[in-house]
């Protein structure tokens, strides 16, 4: 069994109004040094696979086909064997 973590982020070219709103909130807390707040999504899932390569392949496919929309989002994955 493998455990995958997928980070889905808005592409840099996409304006992130949610991130902007949170940044304003951070600034009103007094943390003026904080910049470029961007909101993304975190997905974790288990894959029943016989090898890490297979688990990575499946995680990547799922991310490309469903978890992220390539028009507006990028994603990165990490896969670890689950003990």
């Amino acid at each position: 069994m493998y455990h995958s973590k997928i980070l889905v982020t808005l592409r840099q070219s996409i304006l992130d109004p949610q991130g902007k709103a949170v940044e304003h909130g951070v600034h009103s807390l007094g943390y003026d040094s904080v910049r470029n707040v961007r909101i993304g999504k975190f997905v974790e899932l288990n894959v029943d696979a016989s090898s890490r390569e297979e688990a990575e392949k499946i995680t990547r496919e799922v991310s490309e086909k469903l978890l992220a929309n390539p028009v507006m989002e990028d994603f990165s994955i990490t896969v670890e064997e689950k003990k």
Binding site: L15, P17, V71
Partner: protein
């Protein structure tokens, strides 16, 4: 001869009955609701993907509805030239399904916007605007939190070059201005059509402006256009 409208019902659709009512009662055509688990749209002449919050807008608006069993047949139907009309959430489903380009992002205001807006008809003579004039202004309501149409500049140029932008948000006089843009959509886009001209998506709700009892009937032009183009030009599929 009456046209057959098929309105797909996803879990979370909430404008399905409005669309059905307009097709059947206002237009006097045949209409039937198609549950998303059905595998075929059947012998309908028009498929409507209605507004609402399919699958609770989980993950991304429209992203999960795209995997409903019926969508395989909707894609097949569209690829065979069938007329498909996505309204609001239906538009979001169409872009997620790859039947239309681009994506609908969170409104730039981050607010759910529910109000009447003005739309300028940018492309007349489609199945959906056969009774409209280019430049005509329609007053139709919007009700969405994620209607901010976006696409990369290359795709936008292609949409413009191929004349696929059907509606733009404008002011009362028909000027397309930043102030008339309710959600931050690129180039004030409110509705687009595919290259073949049989699939259109729009964020505004014409079905909510079709019954005279609501005092706004501009939306009916869009539905009347469908009937006109399919019945009188015998482009039945």
């Amino acid at each position: 001869m009456a046209l057959k409208f098929g309105i797909v019902v996803f879990p979370g659709s909430n404008c399905d009955h409005d669309a059905h009512y307009v097709a059947e009662t206002i237009l006097g055509q045949e209409a039937r609701l198609i549950w998303h688990k059905e595998s075929s749209v059947g012998d309908v002449d028009v498929v409507i993907l209605p507004g609402g919050f399919s699958y609770g807008d989980y993950l991304r608006c429209g992203a999960l509805a795209r995997f409903s069993p019926i969508m395989k047949d909707v894609v097949r139907y569209a690829n065979n030239g069938g007329v498909v009309f996505g309204i609001c959430n239906g538009f979001q489903v169409l872009v997620e399904a790859g039947l239309l380009p681009g994506v609908l992002l969170r409104n730039d205001s981050l607010k759910f916007v529910c109000k009447y807006v003005h739309l300028r008809v940018e492309k007349a003579g489609t199945h959906f605007t056969s009774l409209c004039r280019k430049g005509e202004v329609l007053e139709i309501p919007i009700a969405h939190g994620d209607g901010n149409y976006f696409t990369d500049s290359e795709t936008l140029k292609r949409l413009e070059d191929k004349d696929q932008i059907v509606f733009r948000y404008c002011d009362r006089s028909g000027s397309v201005t930043a102030g008339a843009n309710p959600n931050g959509s690129i180039s004030n886009i409110a509705g687009i059509i595919n290259e073949q001209g049989n699939v259109m998506g729009m964020m505004p709700h014409p079905e909510r402006a079709s019954d005279p009892v609501l005092h706004h009937t501009d939306g009916r032009k869009v539905f009347d256009s469908i009937v006109e183009s399919l019945v009188n030009h015998s482009q039945l599929v």
